[in-house]
Subunit: 194 residues, 2 copies
């Protein structure tokens, strides 16, 4: 066995992009606008699929960390935008539980979470999730969202995780469509496409 | 926003442990024995929860990578044993799709996958999954397995991923019980325990 390591970090373009994004981030819509622009920039810069996410501290209003899909660029099927944003926010705070010290964190995601990310959300300690595009918008261009419980929103709310959806949905769905139109890779495992 | 990185790698004890594990690894039971011993060693060495996993190439019989739970030691709720094993196997092979080049990979896990890991398995490109302890063995000591589809095995088999369960179940469940008896942390997010 050859020992390997996984290193997840944001692409180099993200820091100057955030510096240049001078919109106020006090409302949910403004935050989602940032997330959607990150999803667009991620595929334009060829660093991954058209997906982005961000974790905000609901009390301070601070952006704790953002994430973009890094499946292709890192070579890791787990590196969905939500996983990246949640993991890096936890690393920034030094805890595996974002709810530590009664912190209330919100995850915003450009597309409703797939089955894996839905599970990851439950373990992360976030208290709410906000989504833009729907599962069907991702499926329409060929992405597989996995086998989610039929009422996946109820599975989160019963755990105390509030869900808002359709925030700037059209704008996020437009990014997905642009990705498909540009010939972007739909990177489901080959075995699932046989 | 303070930019952070996530680095996942196996604890230092794993390499000498594997070197000292001189059992033949040609049968499923022998491979699972290795995985269960890794799960036991992980909590004894204080590097994480009592969970381990491994990815084997079914054609060559080679161990591609193993993984252990690193939630506490890395401070990352996503760092379940299956996620670690799958991610590191992908890094070792340089692809986000373990089924690339018609490779057939098998994931062995000391406990049936939680909802997040179940999703991760679908995106990884493995062709089969072998489990030791059942969900209820993990739940019995307080771990949350998440909201999995009722017939989660069918969700895998319909995607061409074969599932075997109960391989050395008692032995793996004994490790879980030993962890609980030793006062090991049950690290569900605080918000879920309120």
């Amino acid at each position: 066995m050859r020992f390997s390591e996984l290193n997840l970090k944001l692409p180099n373009w993200v820091e100057p992009f955030l510096d240049g994004f001078d919109t106020d981030l006090s409302t949910t819509e403004q935050r989602m606008k940032l997330v959607i622009e990150l999803s667009r920039e991620n595929f334009k810069k060829n660093t991954g699929g058209p997906f982005a996410a961000a974790v905000f501290d609901l009390d301070s209003g601070n952006l704790l960390h953002c994430g973009v899909n890094l499946v292709e660029s890192v070579g890791c099927s787990i590196a969905h935008a939500e996983v990246v944003a949640l993991s890096l926010a936890q690393q920034a705070l030094g805890t595996y539980d974002l709810s530590q010290n009664n912190r209330r964190c919100q995850l915003l995601t450009s597309t409703e979470p797939c089955a894996m990310c839905l599970g990851a959300i439950c373990w992360s300690g976030v208290s709410s999730v906000v989504c833009a595009a729907r599962d069907e918008d991702a499926r329409r261009i060929g992405f597989d969202e996995g086998d989610k419980p039929t009422d996946w929103i109820a599975t989160l709310t019963k755990r105390g995780i509030a869900v808002e959806r359709d925030i700037l949905r059209e704008s996020a769905a437009d990014v997905l469509k642009s990705y498909a139109d540009s010939g972007g890779i739909i990177y489901n495992p080959k075995s699932l496409n046989d």
